[in-house]
Symmetry: C2
Subunit: 195 residues, 2 copies
């Protein structure tokens, strides 16, 4: 739990990890679980629940990863300052998602992030975040998914969809025990025999 090194990379691609700040056990359990599952489904490589631990979320996320595959890494309890310092030391950039930031639609901020070509730590808040998050000491980019108040879960989804150009929704998840076969009607799931 103490190690915040980037998770394993797929070849030639940058590492993209989501840091969730400000989680309140109990009150936020469902929302934070949704944020973590969104990170996984839209092909971030890992999720860090900073500063606190929540075994319920860990259990849910790991159970889903085990069943549905992929190489998603869940970590928790690491102080956010430590994650940020290590990420910077390793040469990665930090993107803070906030309604106050540069608009992903009306500015060139996404292109600048892509041009940087570096590993990306995406920071999403819950309650009001520390003012530091907006500063150069923490964030390289403050990005808004629209400038209306809404949801960190929604903002993360749109950001990842645009960052990966939609391809994340077509990706195969390795070593899945269960796979959904997309269909116009009903539910079709194929179970993979275990090896």
């Amino acid at each position: 739990m103490e190690d915040s090194k980037p998770t394993q990379k797929t070849s030639n691609s940058s590492e993209v990890v989501v840091l969730r700040w400000g989680h309140r056990p109990q009150r936020d359990v469902r929302l934070t679980t949704h944020v973590a599952l969104t990170a996984r489904a839209l092909c971030a490589s890992g999720f860090i629940l900073s500063d606190v631990e929540d075994r319920n979320i860990e259990k849910t996320v790991n159970r889903i990863s085990d069943r549905w595959g992929g190489r998603f890494q869940f970590q928790m309890g690491i102080p956010w300052k430590k994650v940020v310092a290590k990420w910077r030391a390793n040469g990665g950039v930090i993107v803070h998602l906030t309604a106050y930031g540069e608009n992903i639609q009306t500015s060139d901020v996404l292109q600048r992030i892509k041009n940087a070509g570096k590993d990306i730590l995406i920071v999403v808040g819950s309650q009001k975040v520390p003012g530091d998050f907006y500063s150069e000491q923490v964030s390289d980019f403050n990005v808004s998914v629209g400038n209306q108040p809404h949801s960190e879960c929604a903002a993360l989804a749109v950001f990842l969809d645009r960052l990966f150009g939609g391809e994340e929704l077509a990706r195969n998840f390795e070593k899945a025990k269960m796979k959904i076969v997309p269909s116009a009607r009903g539910k079709t799931v194929s179970s993979q025999a275990e090896h």
Copy 2:
């Protein structure tokens, strides 16, 4: 609360309303609030909390609409079957967002929805939805935002972002008392004088 007619249209555009099914007061309050705020921020014209009422959510959504503008209509307590029947009677189509549906990235389902050129009711579940939702009696389209389990809030966000081609994030919200001025650092908000 009993009237499920479509909310007012902007000129020449289809009506897009989100129906949230399966809300459990208390347990789902934060998540459903996020779904409603996502619908508003990404320019759906309305949100229907079906079958149950939750004054906390109504209050939060209406307070945000009052402060941040726009013409978002919040309704609750209408039976989902009634909403669906009325929507169909008025000639609209129904899109059910589900991990089991046609993949928005790998199929042409979004194009077919757009080609229909009709008002769209987007149905999002919470707990396991009734099997009916997948049938022709309810849904015209079953759409998946990736075929992994994740979040109805995330799925809704990506669906709306793609449906509106990103333009929803640049839209001006009418009669806003507060507006965020996007910025690379810090928080900038302009307050509009009341008229």
